[in-house]
Symmetry: C2
Subunit: 327 residues, 2 copies
């Protein structure tokens, strides 16, 4: 497949670098202000992935073209890997609808459109010959969305898990070292596991967006008529983060063989993120930056899938898995 990669952050660059190994060709790359588009001649083999990534690293640009040129390029799949934005989820939302209006496919790593405008996305897909997929928006390398899809959302009663590696790392280190939140946050920032402004992760927003996406999948998937399906947005989520978890809570929990994890849960009716007590050797108590997705099914019991929830190559792997499913 020919890919137009919109977004040249860690995920976009990893998709550009790994696409060839999966048998795909990158025909365009765009960042927020520049683009590079393969010239489409008869022996064109797409853009040079290494050159594009190097140019971005050294000069902060991907090319001399305009981002609009990337959106107008001759691609099969548009990969939407620009930063997650809330509310109107722009410009990511429009990137996706531009592809669909041209009867092309879109694969999203950007959570914004899927969490905040799921109904509008579904409507755009209905009017298009193209399809959308968004495995990379939930759980990085963990195949959460496709597993729920294969079991069929009507047969999944709930999905829960540890969906944010930054918050999980902090809680793991607080429990392991007996340290307080502020101390461990500083350590996480030094390691590059937490950002300078960590609120998106530690306040539970990132986990909540992932749960909202799962709730939309469950709700629309189970509805006889999608027009009747309940649509979720971030506003529907009941969210509590980890800033107020004291070190003492973890010490007390440990006396009972328990610990604390930031757990998100989605059903077709509710979305909830909060710190919860879990058995310290139990399935949900994954360590460090690991994620886990636990799927409750009607006929097959509970499935647990754990792995790396974030990272350029990990998320790119999910994106390229989606491209493969569209072939």
């Amino acid at each position: 497949m020919r890919l137009a990669v919109i977004g040249a952050g860690a995920v976009g660059r990893s998709v550009v670098e790994l696409a060839g190994e999966h048998g795909h060709e990158v025909v365009a790359v765009a960042d927020s202000s520049t683009a590079v588009v393969a010239d489409g001649g008869s022996d064109a083999v797409g853009v040079d992935p290494d050159a594009v990534v190097a140019r971005k690293a050294e000069r902060g640009i991907v090319g001399d073209d305009d981002p609009e040129d990337a959106l107008a390029a001759d691609y099969d799949v548009l990969v939407e890997a620009t930063p997650t934005t809330l509310g109107d989820a722009e410009p990511g939302f429009s990137h996706v609808t531009t592809a669909l209006e041209r009867d092309r496919h879109a694969v999203l790593a950007n959570k914004g459109p899927v969490a905040e405008r799921y109904g509008d996305l579904r409507a755009a897909v209905d009017d298009s010959d193209g399809a959308i997929r968004f495995e990379a928006t939930v759980g990085g390398a963990i195949p959460a969305v496709s597993t729920v899809e294969d079991i069929e959302p009507g047969h999944v009663t709930a999905v829960r898990g540890v969906l944010n590696g930054t918050a999980n790392f902090i809680l793991t280190r607080m429990a392991a070292e007996g340290l307080d939140y502020d101390h461990v946050l500083a350590e996480a920032q030094d390691l590059g596991v937490a950002e300078a402004d960590p609120s998106f992760d530690v306040d539970g927003t990132d986990a909540a967006l992932k749960c909202v996406i799962l709730a939309n999948v469950l709700s629309f998937g189970a509805a006889d008529d999608p027009a009747d399906a309940r649509e979720f947005t971030l506003d529907d989520a009941d969210v509590a983060g980890i800033r107020d978890v004291p070190g003492s809570a973890l010490r007390l929990a440990a006396e009972d063989g328990q610990t604390v994890r930031l757990i998100g849960e989605a059903t077709g009716e509710t979305v909830r993120v909060a710190p919860r007590l879990v058995p310290e050797n139990g399935t949900l108590a994954v360590s460090g930056t690991q994620n886990i997705v636990q799927i409750e099914t009607s006929h097959a019991g509970r499935l647990n899938i754990s792995g790396r929830g974030a990272g350029g190559p990990e998320t790119a792997s999910a994106v390229l898995g989606d491209v493969g499913r569209l072939e």
Copy 2:
């Protein structure tokens, strides 16, 4: 989709019972000597699932037709759920090729053809407009095969795990109760977790067949030319079971925070099943009849998927997931 279900054991009966919930119609069911085929009139809605299952329970037959009638019926997907046989993998192998020769699809729960005649199956698929899927042959409800497929076998370096619930139950109980193998085997047989002749499970054959299937997927998936791919059969597997694991080994292991599990591992070059020491609170130390599949990837680290590895509804769930992917 219209399904012909060949095999009326626990898995076949569950597929018959659950197909309607997934929007599919069962047009034929066969056991080893009888069949029932829907009459295919203009308002036909397939066979009556409850009636078929009840008839099998009460009279030991599914209908008054002949199994050949089921194979000749007008179906979209043949579900091969007859007992696993080794070597020539008959009659299951021929059921699958019959469907493919008619340009229909086949979904297997029967491990025999996939483990013992993978090359012949691939050749039959190449000559057909139909496709085969076989998620249900490995790990029951766990989406092992489709996850490897989505990551792409060339990007999976190894797959390992606990793939037999009977053996795992026995080892779990031996460790928990400090009892010997023979005692726990008897308990497992009373509970219906182990069969009267448990050798298929406790000697590691069942786990080995699943690993052989995974090795075939990895080997053929990574090959540039399938004609060059190495084909695996059960004979290629290095297999040791659990009969000779003494209770003392588990007690000694526990002193070091370890336990013993029957671990199967497949790469594109080797298949090995043996009891192994694993950390007792680690990921591979699943309990009871649970299974776990651990997938090592090139770019996305390690994925762990645990859940129910066996059972009628669980395995049927995997079969119906495969049918959904063929639509």
